[in-house]
Amino acid sequence: MIDFEPTEEQTLMVTAVSQLAEKLRGAIRRTEEERGLSEETRKTAFEMGLGGAVSVPESHGGAGLGLVTAVLLDEALAAGDPAAPFALGGPGAFASAIAELGTAEQASAWITRLSAHDRCGAVAWSEARPNRTRPGLSALATKDGDAWVLRGEKAFVLNADRADAFVVFAQVDEAKGWSGVGAFVVDAKADGVRVGARKSTLGLDAVGACDVTLEGVRITNDDRLLGGDEFTKAALRFFVKEGLKVASRAVGLSQSAVDIALEYVSNRRAFGKPIGHFQAVAFTLADRAIDIDGARGLLRRAASLWDAFAAGTAQERDALLTSAYAIAASLEGAMRAGDDAVQLHGGAGFMRDYPVEKLMRDAKQLALCVMTKEQADQLAAAIELDMPLDPALVLPTPDLQAVFT
């Protein structure tokens, strides 16, 4: 049954989150300068159920509210400050990763441990350079008796500076290329974990990004995440679902950029009338409104397909394809919305007195988190062309291979 209306419970939650978002919108520059959310904001948000594991099943230590609820809340919060959903307390992306890759026991133990406003989890996937000697990750996990030893460098790890624990991806079988990747939970306090200095970034200043070095970190077998039957498929599900959350933040950003620009062009006058009353300006905003409607619809449809997939009533292929479309549409839409919002402010848009230049920077940063538009497009094409979902092709690998290579 086609239905666009949220449940009453969802509406109540969104209303509460929107109020918090409104406050964050007012504090957007302070958050940026302080490079983080205040303790108080983290507390408030955590009490609302944010930052934890909204969509993680209860069996895995989450709230079990489903992915549709998660994307609704992320969009609402990001409309205040797109960086905020990344900068909350609680397990965050770590929860999504462990829920997808770990067993129910592993997930609930770790998610429970990290569920507090002053705790945090992170996911270490990326590496700064592709491995030139063989396909796969450079970070290595080697077996040592019953344990595993991790060595290598992970890059651009969001929240690494605050994290109490990481899900770390590393090569467990060098001969198997991208099919030989594994995942582990690593306690941030474990011997051999070194978190680098916080990087200076283009946007999303409220969240830290750092390199993480693993110097012979010992992990017990209990903390290896096997990803159920098929590790690659589970990993892909993690990236795609997390990508949807980032995409929902992009839609929140787009909406906010359009709202701010609308207000500006209704008041700013040139050539004897509000600039919004020139078609070139108005049509630009109409186009962005069309983008938002399509991206938001795709996003919610993708999220509902995942919820249906979990309930056994939808195909994984449909969920993956719609997600890929949703991610690419949302990220591309946010780039256009941020850019246009600055453009329609004229010179003022370039100045930090107005929030739009931050939105434009944040939009670019969002487009580089988790899954890019290009990766999403490649995934969609691979699915539509009935190609095997080879991990080298569909995971956001540093040497992402194009569909036809």
Partner: protein
């Protein structure tokens, strides 16, 4: 209420039925129809009967003709449909499927067509009965209604129509020309918009139902078009055409307010999502064609390296169509909920038309020379010709953006 996008079992079944009919029966004939500038009446007759029999409520499925969802003569949606309020959503789902077979078929279907909504919305009970009853039994011959608003000097600028009307005794006398009227020549009646005084703007507009054979009414040129060639597009000429006063739509009192113009505009909130859905259907046909071409020629038979650019283009086309479909569903869903949807209907029309045009362009390019000349790819060439008008009729892309802009900026009166 909960956010979800799965089709009901009944919707799935009907979609499946129309999908296979479009592919196996309609599409194989579409090139011939295009060349013949029309669809044989016996096919239209059989199709209408089949649709009514199979669907149970063909009207609700939009397969009795464009605008049929608002048609009084169409069978009422069944009780389940009403309870769940999904008539418009059903219509856009059906229209997309049918258009994958041939978009012109939808425009050729017998019934009141675009003339339906204004008669239903503004007609008196007596008029509704009189004008809709002719469609009840078409076993002796098919019948059409049509909608004549556009003139040589006024298309987008609807308020600028010059076809004049003046009262003379018990009749109204119409003078002027209408152009680009779908089914205008074959129609048993046309809803014709005219003005008592151009200086009055919208307030001067009157809508008439002009029946075939009315003295002073004649058909001018039948257009030779780029695409949708199987659909009739006619010029209508009114030369001291005397229309009986009882054919003034809604009666004289109705025009004491601005209703006359609103009659014209109301039509579009319902038809724009439908037109968007048709566009998406054509775009999808082209997309799927190109996708399968790539699958066969590159992926399966000869792995040509570095065709990432093609993959990206395919993905973009698929994505834009998917996004436009959701926007269209939302506009239709709002109509079913009886919520004002002018902005969403325009967003659907603008997004659907543009996404589908891009799909047809890209499909031709992806298939290369095959797309434009090879015998076996003539469908691609046809879709390319058919699609352009979807960003023109029912309000051009620019006009949709004006509608959206006015909803975004309530204090914007005009540009």
């Amino acid at each position: 209420m909960t956010i979800e996008f799965s089709l009901t079992k009944r919707q799935e079944e009907l979609r499946g039925m129309i999908r296979s009919f479009a592919k196996n029966v309609i599409r194989p004939q579409s090139l011939a129809w295009d060349r013949a500038h029309g669809i044989p009446e016996d096919f239209l007759m059989r199709f209408t009967q089949m649709a009514a029999a199979a669907g149970g409520s063909a009207g609700a499925w939009g397969i009795q003709g464009l605008g049929a969802s608002a048609d009084e003569s169409a069978p009422k949606p069944d009780a389940a449909d009403k309870k769940k309020k999904s008539a418009m959503v059903n219509t856009v789902i059906a229209a997309e499927e049918l258009a994958t077979g041939d978009p012109a078929l939808l425009l050729c279907l017998p019934g009141p067509g675009l003339g339906g909504p204004p008669v239903r919305g503004s007609g008196t009970p007596e008029q509704k009965e009189r004008f809709f009853s002719i469609f009840r039994d078409m076993s002796a011959g098919l019948k059409w209604g049509a909608y004549a608003l556009t003139e040589p000097g006024a298309g987008s600028d609807v308020a600028g129509i010059r076809t004049s009307c003046r009262k003379d005794g018990k009749a109204w006398v119409l003078d002027g020309r209408k152009c680009f009227i779908t089914n205008g020549a074959r129609a048993s009646w046309n809803v014709v918009f005219a003005t008592i005084d151009p200086a009055l703007g919208r307030a001067g507009h009157r809508a008439f139902v002009v029946e075939k054979g009315t003295p002073g009414f004649s058909v001018g040129k039948i257009e030779d078009k780029m695409g949708l060639r199987a659909s009739e597009t006619a010029e209508l000429v009114f030369d001291e055409c005397r229309v009986p006063e009882e054919n003034l739509l809604g009666g004289e009192e109705r025009y004491q307010t601005k209703e006359g113009f609103m009659t014209a505009m109301k039509t579009f909130d319902n038809t724009r999502p439908l037109v968007a859905a048709m566009a998406i259907g054509i775009g999808r046909a082209a997309y799927e064609y190109a996708r399968d071409f790539v699958k066969e020629n590159y992926v399966l038979s000869r792995p040509i390296p570095r065709y990432a650019a093609i993959a990206e283009r395919l993905a973009r086309v698929g994505r834009e169509l998917a996004a436009a479909r959701i926007t269209t569903w939302r506009a239709a869903w709002l109509a079913d909920q009886e919520v004002a949807n002018a902005k969403e209907a325009s967003m659907a029309k603008a997004a659907g038309g543009q996404a589908a045009i891009r799909a047809c362009f890209e499909a031709i390019e992806i298939c290369g020379a095959h797309g434009t000349i090879a015998e076996e790819h003539q469908l691609l060439e046809k879709w390319f010709r058919d699609i352009k008008v979807y960003d023109i009729f029912e309000g051009t892309g620019q006009i949709q953006r004006i509608v959206i802009s006015k909803r975004l900026m309530p204090d914007l009166k005009s540009f």
